[in-house]
Symmetry: C2
Subunit: 653 residues, 2 copies
């Protein structure tokens, strides 16, 4: 790992392209580096369609929502250009920033005059609200009567700042304009002057300022931002929140980051913090901190992650549950927590180059992030359970029983989804001293500053088909290595390079090193058979049940696909029968999905007898009844027809 | 059912004894009637010990807590005799009233000068706070600036009133003094003048005023109180809460009581409401309303009740979950909800005479109410999960991982436990036109106004031993029927009357009708073998697991009883082996319990491999390992040594 070069923003390293999100400086201790913003891009297929809907529909709707929900008006009131009461939760400004971030990346993907107009307009509203000394938080400025940092565990003042920093960097990189960056720098300088050793020794109850400060450091080169981020990371776990009379677990403050073994407390807070800590570890070449993060990530994978990749099982306080507390019906699995998990895993991938981190990014994007947004792209789930029973109802706004919603009183998820889709291209590829690595599979192009400049064209029908074809368009000069991730689930993958077989072991990278010619093709073929999985027996809630996967997708059984008289609640399966299930692509269904034709059975007799009954020597089995074959759909697509019974975990017959 | 007699308080019917709680008037349409307060009493054994601890320790501690937590000071501030800020949640007054109720019943059980002094002192504090026109709610009077009923869905003004009414009745019946009753009548008259058709057509978000008003009607004969209770019951479910912009389910306001099929929303609210509705149904001889309540009660039993009798599975908003949403690890099962369930079932028992209601009272008292209080009687669980895993921790005040606590910021449970133990004798016996019925088994005496006056002496080591011996001390004149409940779980029970065998079918009443002589004995012998039960397969969370019961008790496996190396999380069982498990009485353990000696196995290999793994054709089984026999303890006694791994549901090996 390199620790000697000066911490120069990586822009100067490439000399020609703006940075992708979370792009380490040239001095950072990372194994992999993102390709520049715009250098990797989808041009068609699965994710491209979602990015299109995001660009054309969601970001436009978001702009309108920021007005109608009062976010922009709050800022105007703080600026003194409007009067009235501020509305909404204390972190209303952060929705504006997340939307600005999305708009910034989106403009970087493809310039758009209308979008740029909105960015300028919203930036002006934000800038006008900023206090002379840089402080900015509209709700606190108005509702809090101008009092600052009096209840930092709850006030989200740094949280809003962190999102502003990331937005300012995105707008700078995506539009070249510096208006929002000026606001961010002014606020960051204020934070540097106010917080840290000898100043206010406090941390925000909700991390995110850490990633924001590091990004701002990367953009500006101002070392003080990195130092403050580093201090915020290490200040936690030493009683700073407890001093306010709060119990610290929820706030990721029970244990120092360097000592924790598993994330706990509020899930979004926990993974935003570890993502920020990973940024700090990279930029300060802190191997001990990185080790601690590896341990926590492994702890999360070992006992606190749903099969979908979703995290945070508890509705109450949106927390990680205890080890193996992963009940499917009340899975909270907040959409924002999935996004935070992707951000964390991405940074771990850059730091280590290990495929397992990209594997979790893939699982989480398809099965924990994507279910959070409707096929139309404009309605959102806050919460993503893995089971809904017949007769479910509740009066909570964020209940999945209501279906996806266009916005929420606490609207953290919608603009978070927007910024993730707008920056999704960044997760496709990286470069290293060896060459180019492809981590996620999508039809598109990848340019890289390797061997004097190379360009790749990727074509694939992923996630429906397992063939990924990579054509070298610009071969560069001399030898370099092309690496394609072979997912951990892809046992039996095969590959060819220029027609010759190459090894493709699951759970790592297929690597081909050579001098390339234009038109050379590497083709990876991932096995797309049905996979049946079960959980560690300590996950009590899914004992005796299995989940069905194909490719990167987790599947579910949903009521609209079942014959009359068969309730999703009562579906039972035999594993041996499931293994031979076939896939069928249905372009007409749910925007085009491959369904799995699952042989299932109906549990009989469940409705008879009392709720509790004498136990037989053996566990009861579903009565024999003719097998019926039903289509299972990708879990991400559920609740797009009607909201009703659905289950990912299928009990054994 | 009688509907013609005037609605006279039942006191005049007996002419000699104060009423028990929830004693219907002579006009009420009920099958069974409580014996007068004090006519049934425990004199020794299981419940008597707990009542003793409640009397000697808990009620004294509660009196001190009302001072230290600020409840009494709030009332003094409202009265103008003290200054300062009121403290605590909006329903702080209700804790005072629940404590007064407990003290009132307790004084009725056995007069005590110190207790009477406290009652008088606290009554004076309450009375001084009451407004001239009868309004009373200290927090609202001070913190709310005197504004009344502006946010009744949340303000708990009627809720506090309901608890005051019940307390006033208890103090009147237990001490003969009318000071608190005068306050209650003044407030009730104010409510009658303010609410109902043509007045404020609003309901409190938290029911309990309904039972309180009916009790006050029974005590005073003032029909307007019954009418208002009746109006409150029927007003719900017609959008009164929704008018305030609230979603109605939580508040038991989504569906009219007469149309509901299953309780839903906030569990305590739901069952306090149905208890009040049952009172109204009885006093107004409303068979249609009673039918609706039978349907709801059956709905609760069919899919929304834990094996412990606990109800309300969701932590978020303390709600009933969906049908079959009964996960053991995150079971909320609030202690107060168990109390409300007992109150509801008791009223259903009076109305119908059906043993199933007394069965649920028994199950709930032993296994859902009693776990809520420590063996010492002075620490409380707010929440009663059926499983705690290794490594569990959380920062929530009400988390069971902290162990029982002496009080809570929201202290509804402690005084609720106190009043329940102080009035527990009332659940032992009833009378009817036929004779005397014994519903719960405890060593003690029962006097009844039957056949000119009879007295029974009950002796039993229940719940450890299944023999219940009833001796007729005063035989009365002429024939009458003695009925003993034979619990639904007691298949194979036997009985004798004066030495002759009589039939004792489980799930009903053993009935012996004859002319009795002093010294006649009826003996019921309930089978005390180990019972192994499993759940309806739709309760996904306990699929493949069984629970162990003996007599009225649900058992659990707790870490302190397990050998080194065997974690409660990893215990597995074979049903055939469990059936022969023996019981052993351990006077030294946990205040004296019968443990079950369970043969168990240890799950091997769980810790190896990833969280999700390829599924085999058959569900994995615990590796064969020598059986180890471990003691299971009654669930109610868990967490009295240390707080750690515990489980009620034991997975099959």
């Amino acid at each position: 790992m390199t620790t000697t070069a000066p911490p120069t923003p990586a822009t100067s390293g490439t000399g020609r392209a703006p940075l992708a999100p979370a792009a380490p400086t040239t001095a950072a201790a990372v194994v992999l580096r993102p390709v520049p913003s715009g250098a990797a891009r989808t041009t068609g297929g699965f994710w491209h369609e979602r990015q299109d809907a995001n660009r054309r529909q969601a970001i436009r709707t978001g702009y309108e929502k920021l007005e109608s929900a009062g976010n922009l008006q709050n800022l105007r009131i703080a600026a003194g250009t409007a009067t009235g009461e501020v509305r909404g939760p204390i972190f209303m400004d952060s929705d504006v920033y997340k939307w600005l971030e999305a708009a910034g990346w989106e403009h970087g993907r493809e310039p758009d005059a209308e979008l740029l107009g909105w960015i300028r307009e919203v930036t002006a509203v934000v800038a006008a609200a900023q206090a002379e000394d840089g402080y900015l938080d509209s709700v606190q400025q108005v509702r809090g009567g101008g009092a600052r940092y009096v209840d930092l565990p709850w006030s989200h003042e740094h949280y809003c700042a962190g999102h502003l920093f990331q937005a300012a960097v995105a707008v700078r990189r995506g539009t070249g304009e510096t208006g929002l960056l000026d606001v961010a720098v002014k606020l960051a300088d204020h934070l540097v002057a106010t917080f840290g050793p000898g100043g206010l020794e406090e941390v925000d109850g909700h991390p995110v300022v850490e990633t924001g400060l590091v990004e701002l450091y990367r953009e500006t080169g101002t070392r003080a931002y990195l130092d403050l981020a580093s201090w915020f990371v290490d200040a936690r776990g030493h009683g700073v929140i407890a001093r306010h009379g709060k119990e610290p677990t929820y706030f990721s403050d029970r244990v120092p980051v360097r000592e924790a073994t598993s994330p706990e407390g509020h899930a979004v807070r926990a993974v935003y913090l570890t993502a920020g800590a990973a940024d700090v570890a990279a930029e300060t070449a802190d191997a001990q901190l990185l080790d601690a993060l590896v341990r926590q990530w492994e702890g999360m994978l070992a006992s606190k992650t749903y099969v979908t990749g979703g995290i945070g099982s508890r509705w109450d306080f949106e927390q990680f549950g205890d080890h193996h507390e992963l009940g499917p019906d009340r899975a909270y699995a907040e959409s924002c927590a999935a996004i935070g998990s992707v951000q964390w895993s991405w940074r771990m991938l850059l730091a280590t180059g290990e495929a397992r981190y990209a594997d979790l990014v893939e699982r989480t994007l398809y099965n924990a992030f994507l279910p959070g947004v409707s096929l139309a792209g404009t309605e959102y789930f806050y919460v993503n359970p893995l089971q809904l029973r017949a007769g479910a109802h509740t009066d909570e706004e964020r209940s999945p029983a209501h279906g996806r919603r266009p916005w929420f009183d606490c609207a953290c998820c919608p603009p978070n989804v927007m910024r993730t889709l707008s920056s999704l291209d960044a997760y496709l590829a990286t470069t290293s001293a060896d060459g180019v690595q492809l981590h996620q599979f999508a039809t598109g192009t990848v340019r890289a500053d390797v061997a004097g400049g190379v360009e790749l064209a990727v074509s694939t029908d992923y996630p429906w088909d397992g063939t990924v074809r990579v054509e070298v368009r610009e071969p560069g000069a001399g030898e370099w290595e092309l690496a394609l991730r072979v997912p951990g689930w892809a046992e039996g993958a095969t590959a060819t390079a220029a027609g010759e077989p190459v090894e493709a072991l699951a759970g790592g990278y297929l690597r081909v090193r050579r001098s390339w010619s234009a038109g050379d093709v590497v083709e990876l073929v991932l096995p797309m058979g049905v996979r049946v999985v079960e959980a560690d027996p300590r996950v009590d809630a899914v004992r005796g049940a299995v989940a069905v996967e194909r490719g990167p997708l987790v599947y579910c059984v949903e009521q609209p696909d079942l014959p009359v008289g068969l309730l999703a609640d009562d579906v039972r399966v035999r594993v041996a029968e499931l293994r031979g299930a076939s896939a069928e692509h249905r372009p007409d269904l749910l925007g085009g999905v491959s369904v799995l034709r699952l042989p299932v059975h109906r549990a009989l007799g469940a409705a008879e007898g009392p709720l509790y009954r004498p136990a037989g020597d053996e566990a009861p089995r579903a009565a024999e009844e003719g097998t019926v074959t039903v289509p299972a759909i990708p879990y991400y697509a559920w609740a797009n027809r009607e909201v009703g019974p659905m289950r990912v975990w299928l009990p054994r017959a």
